[in-house]
């Protein structure tokens, strides 16, 4: 029997399900089921390493414990600060680079390729080699800083004041190209006749930027920041390799703390509650952000 004949009797809806069925099943198995299971676990005192100990229902105890724990709020503050500075810097530098590369000049393609290189590296590798760059004795970073302004020996990842900046710098170095690429796509979608009309109306370059370029590129920039925001909220590998969350807990982001609670202390119930809280937080923020972004687009 030919394939054509075999599927002849299927309706369009059935064929549609045939195509999306495997994806839906996969999604249910690796996303939805773990999520539902984690929510269920978050109401228990389950420890995954305590074999034979049946989990008991504890109601909202884990949620109350997470929300009342001072250390958790410290990690959330560290995460918020990390997100704020990385997003701000990546927005400004990314847009600036996009504006630069939107111009036609010799070597444009080569420069674009070089700028994009950091985001192609593995975050764990980036974390490891920046520990060498930050080394106070032989690190290139310290050498360059001292070349311009003599600060003497300073330890970027050993100081609680500098370590948060150390991770912000590395993330900005690595992911600004992403923001830049999205912004560049936005810039290239702006029709030329808008600028030509502005020229006819004798608008200055600054006015062209404010009234044409920025509104056109803003939805793209916001989209890039949404992606970066979600990624940085769950940032883990680069920071673990770079600082292990230290010194002390100066760079211990929420995701690092969650991993320690879940897979080192094996407090499965507690960490599930923490994970659900983080999920709701990012989901809530994400939704509000998308609504704001859509409103900006509509303007």
């Amino acid at each position: 029997m030919s394939v054509k004949k075999k599927f002849k009797g299927l309706s369009d809806k059935a064929v549609g399900w045939l195509f999306i069925g495997p994806t839906v099943l996969l999604l249910l198995a690796i996303n939805i089921y773990p999520l539902v299971y984690a929510i269920k676990m978050s109401f228990t005192n389950f420890y995954a390493n305590k074999i034979g100990r049946e989990p008991q229902f504890v109601g909202l105890k884990n949620y109350i414990k997470v929300l009342n724990k001072e250390a958790i709020w410290e990690k959330m503050q560290v995460t918020a600060s990390f997100m704020f500075w990385t997003l701000l810097l990546q927005a400004i530098i990314g847009l600036g680079l996009a504006l630069l590369l939107n111009r036609k000049f010799k070597g444009n393609e080569l420069l674009t390729t070089l700028i994009v290189l950091p985001m192609m590296l593995s975050p764990a590798v980036v974390g490891v080699f920046w520990t060498y760059l930050y080394n106070p004795q032989v690190g290139l970073f310290n050498y360059v800083v001292n070349f311009f302004y003599d600060l003497g020996s300073f330890d970027m990842i050993g100081s609680s004041t500098l370590a948060p900046w150390a991770i912000v710098i590395v993330d900005t170095w690595m992911w600004t190209p992403f923001t830049m690429l999205i912004c560049l796509a936005g810039l290239r979608s702006v029709p030329n006749y808008l600028y030509e009309a502005a020229e006819v109306d004798r608008a200055s370059k600054w006015q062209q930027f404010i009234y044409i370029t920025l509104p056109s590129v803003l939805p793209f920039l916001l989209l890039a920041l949404l992606f970066r925001g979600i990624e940085n909220f769950k940032m883990f590998d680069m920071v673990v390799e770079l600082t292990s969350g230290g010194p002390g807990s100066a760079t211990e982001l929420a995701s690092i703390n969650l991993k320690r609670e879940a897979f080192e202390k094996w407090k499965t119930g507690y960490s599930s509650a923490f994970a659900v809280i983080l999920f709701v937080t990012i989901f809530g923020f994400g939704n509000v952000y998308v609504k704001v972004m859509n409103k900006i687009k509509e303007r």
Partner: protein, 430 residues
């Protein structure tokens, strides 16, 4: 053709059945064990596959494997602190019957190592491992620098006693500080590479070397898990303050997240006069002395009492293994005194009394006497099943105080006790 296929298939099944897998950390002694094990394979025909995991991931990898009842490993050389979890959660095979049957006596092994690596509950006669690798935290120093007359006389003039193996932690600090920032042979040198690592257990292993020497106890000996006034006693606080002073005054720049490898690197590259590290590394350090570098070694200095941080591991049979019989055969072979002697000769640290009590042992290497001294004074971190939960808050609080300079030593220790109380309460111990 069918016969050929069947015979080939059965050969393959047999060859698989005659192999076991041993898991350990990736470090020098593991290579020595691999070398030693060739003799086991030659004698028994049992192939031993090795999986060595780098130290920073060792605990995560192995404990996840055990918690998931994994069958990857038949034998595991697990850290001393895991013995509680191994026994309580049933990850390790209890070896008493096997020892009795094979005539393996725990009295043939150093008592401190049996207590630390094999027993649960502590000090009981329940054995879950054979002491495999004795170890303790100790110190190496640049003997060639110490022997220089100009440095010796300058030091004596300044401190009134000879530059040499420090008799206590105060002297250690004096000596470390003496070398801090000093130019030797045209290069800037520093005092000591000490443990400051945040991620796994590094800074805890380092700071406890000082705390034990100051006389710290984890709990009231008459009231288990009563830590108030013991773990945060004035002596313990003083020791933690001292460790911070040692870090601030004597560590090389950038040594803020350093453990075994980083300490070795700092020492081998000629940056520091001292390094804190495990005995396991001394054969390599000693062997690699070159370009005028001569290393000396000494046990952890005493302060109020003589004490050293315990390292080392026992070898256990994994309960989930399908090849427990072969794994036990390996343990039987490894327990033999002649094998233990070869183990020491190859760079492993035997815990067998025949090896340790041999008249030639103290002079067999430059670090042998120190090892003997250390193994008599070792103290270990909690070996409770919840040891990781106990380790993590200590890592965070001590790193926050020593490296980050946040708060006071007393506050750090109080914070740790508060977290530990929570852990013991959740575990039903309090």
């Amino acid at each position: 053709m069918i016969l050929l296929f069947v015979s080939l298939f059965s050969f393959s099944v047999n060859s698989n059945a005659k192999s076991i897998t041993l898991g350990w950390a990736a470090w020098d002694p593991a290579n020595a064990l691999q070398e030693l094990t060739k003799e086991f394979t030659a004698e028994t025909g049992i192939e031993v596959n090795f999986e060595f995991v780098p130290w920073p991931n060792f605990a995560d990898r192995m404990l996840n494997e055990l918690n998931n009842k994994g069958k990857t490993f038949d034998l595991l050389i697990g850290d001393s602190q895991w013995i509680g979890a191994g026994a309580v959660y049933g990850h390790y095979v209890k070896l008493n019957d096997f020892f009795d049957k094979e005539g393996i006596s725990m009295s043939d092994f150093s008592p401190a190592t049996v207590y630390a690596y094999s027993t649960w509950p502590k000090g009981s006669k329940n054995y879950y491992a054979l002491p495999a690798m004795g170890d303790a935290l100790a110190w190496a120093y640049r003997k060639d620098w110490f022997d220089r007359p100009e440095l010796r006389s300058e030091f004596k003039k300044k401190h009134g006693y000879d530059l040499g193996v420090p008799a206590n932690w105060n002297q250690l600090h004096d000596m470390c500080k003496f070398f801090q920032g000093r130019e030797i042979d045209g290069q800037k040198r520093y005092g000591a590479a000490i443990n400051t690592e945040r991620g796994s257990e590094g800074i805890t292993m380092g700071v406890t070397a000082a705390m034990y020497a100051w006389g710290m106890e984890y709990e009231n000996p008459n009231k288990p898990y009563d830590m108030e006034g013991y773990f945060n006693s004035p002596q313990a606080v003083e020791a933690v303050e001292f460790y911070r002073k040692l870090y601030e005054d004597c560590a090389p720049p950038g040594h803020s997240d350093a453990y075994m490898v980083a300490n070795l690197d700092a020492y081998k590259s000629g940056q520091v006069a001292f390094q804190m590290n495990w005995y396991a590394f001394w054969p390599g350090v000693s062997k690699e002395d070159s370009d005028g570098r001569v290393s000396g070694f000494f046990a952890n200095p005493k302060q109020n009492v003589a004490a050293a941080t315990l390292g080392g591991q026992g070898i256990s049979v994994v309960k989930y293994s399908d090849k427990q019989d072969l794994a036990l055969e390996y343990i039987k072979w490894f327990a033999r005194p002649d094998v233990q002697q070869k183990w020491w000769d190859l760079g492993g640290y035997s815990c067998h009394n025949d090896v340790l009590n041999s008249p030639s042992f103290p002079t067999s290497t430059v670090y042998a006497q120190g090892f003997l001294d250390s193994m008599g004074i070792v103290k270990d971190f909690w070996q409770e099943p919840t040891f990781v939960e106990l380790m993590l808050p200590m890592q965070e609080a001590i790193h926050d105080y020593v490296v980050n300079g946040k708060g006071t030593a007393k506050e750090a220790l109080d914070k740790i006790i508060a977290e530990w109380v929570e852990v013991f309460e959740a575990d039903g111990k309090l």
